[in-house]
């Protein structure tokens, strides 16, 4: 797959021969993938091919039928309850549909993990929540709004703010820019870039957005036929011979984007 040998401690996520199936239907079959410390990995694949399922498998939300997953060097199968809690503190997740708690305001949503894991005064927590709200580009009054009062784009930003609440080492973003206008999407990409640089964040990003892939991802992995069929930089994708990767990166839309 990837030729350059990587020291194991530089791999935040290591997935080997993962098999996930729902009943008779196999979604992922023998999938392997590495995510390196400090990189932004873009993950592409057709709709319904299992990108969200892979994310959920790494997070331990769906059962796997085979293979190994290790995060921060710990194998998820052999980790204790306490160890699992430690892991959960070190990752942030932004779900495809936001998954904000509907009965809490945006600020309270951001404070949920803080309350759980940190010892901070209420003033400081409010200050930090306001800070995260501003960092993701929301207006300060958004903090007092309930999720049902937000637009689609605002929900994405609020969900990102919650994912970043504990300054995690890695964030999982499931289609962060889908549903945003192109300018908003570009801002979002830049935001993720900035956060990655300032916080030393590692980003695992599922996306369909060619602009994001081209502008903010260090590496790209493509999912097809229940496996990762190509990994590498954009130029490796363009050079790939896999039919789906070819049509995705060298289709009409893609070419128009790349030229423009």
């Amino acid at each position: 797959m990837d030729a350059s040998p990587q020291a194991d401690q530089d791999l935040i996520i290591k997935v080997r021969d993962l098999v996930v199936a729902f009943g008779e239907k196999t979604i992922l079959d023998g999938l392997s993938l590495d995510v390196r410390r400090g990189e932004i990995l873009g993950f592409v694949g057709g709709s319904g091919t299992g990108k969200s399922v892979l994310t959920r498998a790494i997070l331990g939300l769906v059962e796997k039928q085979g293979g190994t997953i290790s995060v921060f060097g710990t194998d998820l199968d052999s980790v204790s309850e306490a160890g699992k809690r430690d892991l959960e503190k070190r990752w942030g997740v932004m779900f495809q549909h936001g998954a904000l708690f509907s009965s809490l305001t945006v600020a309270q949503n951001i404070q949920v993990p803080m309350r759980e894991y940190l010892d901070l005064s209420p003033t400081m927590m409010n200050d930090l929540a306001a800070l995260k709200i501003e960092m993701v580009g929301l207006r300060p009054d958004a903090g007092d709004k309930f999720p049902s009062e937000l637009s689609g784009g605002m929900i994405k930003r609020a969900a990102l703010a919650r994912a970043l609440a504990l300054d995690p080492e890695i964030v999982f973003l499931d289609e962060p820019t889908s549903g945003l206008d192109p300018i908003g999407a570009a801002d979002f990409d830049e935001l993720i870039r900035t956060l990655q640089q300032t916080l030393g964040l590692t980003v695992f990003m599922v996306t369909h957005d060619l602009d994001s892939l081209a502008s903010s991802c260090d590496r790209i992995a493509a999912l097809a036929d229940k496996k990762v069929v190509a990994v590498g930089e954009l130029k490796d994708m363009l050079a790939s011979t896999h039919p789906w990767v070819k049509s995705y990166f060298r289709g009409k839309r893609a070419l128009a984007r790349m030229k423009g």
């Binding site: 901070l120 930090l128 800070l131 300060p140 007092d144 640089q197």
Partner: protein, 379 residues
Amino acid sequence: MTTTLSNPAFEINFAQDQATIVLTGEWTLDHGRRLEGIMRQLPVSLGEVRKASLDLKRLDRLDTLGARVIEQISHRLGSDGVKVEMQDASERHLTLIGAVRHRNEPVVPPRRSRLVELLADVGQTVVHAGQDLVRGISFIGEVVVAIGRVMLRPASFRWASLVTQLELIAFRGAPIIILITFLVGCIVAQQGIFQLRRFGATAFVVDLVGIITLRELALLLCAIMVAGRSGSAFTAEIGSMKMREEIDALRVMGLNPVDVLVVPRILALIIAMPILSFLASMAGLFGAGLVSWIYGGIAPETFLSRLQSVINYRHFSVGLIKAPFMAVVIGAIACIEGLNVKGSAESLGQQVTASVVKSIFMVIVLDGLFAMFFASIRF
């Protein structure tokens, strides 16, 4: 992961009117309280200096909280008239500190006095109660119009939905309702026999149980069970559809949510309630008969013949006449509450509770009104 955590700390080196503040350790979220302490303490321990430089060289780790604290400290010093500069900060630390600088002033919500809020709350509750009543009546009107539409064009009616609802309400609800009224019939008969025995009037238990079961008990128990089982389900179903904009989706497709969701449910209730009420009456009488036989020594033949002479068609029909009205009240309240659900899961829970409480309350009020009505027409 057992890395030794080094606590955040600072040292101040004074030189004339200038101070060098050396920050050490991990300035991260794990040391929240300690950092807050530093934030309060540091500006105080500086004293009268006019110039300070923050030395970040020995900082082990920095995250947003640490950066925010540093930013706040330099902000506070700045507003005290102290000139602050950063020393030996790495590129990354500087960008992070820059990134956490608030550009917007925090918004302070306007405050009102407790008394005003209390009065406003009371007023609002009264207004809401009034609105509830008006909305309830206009909703029932809307449902009647929709039912009229169905009668004119039966082909457009959602028969499948009606049948499904009938199954859920009547077929699946029957066992528990039968069981409950059977037990209550037993209890009432036992109590009746126990009390009447003292007057040697045990046989009158048949009159007691027969009339109370047919006129009130079976229907009330049935209505309360249906409100709890089916009313809550209506509210939850319609409410979660409302939450996920499915109701709006119906509207924009030109479908009237009342036609699609409400009418089949209310019609199903109207059909199911008399049936359930009848089954409940029978179960109640059966329970009473059983207890009378075993505990009161009244043979089944005696029980039945006495029942026949006491009960006439009127007692039987009172229960059945009331049933459809109860059905409309339960159905309308459940559907209104469902349509009132706002965006949050919490609001769904509140509306379901409100639906059950309101419909049980209204069922009992309505039953009282019927009792007065039937008494005054001597039915």
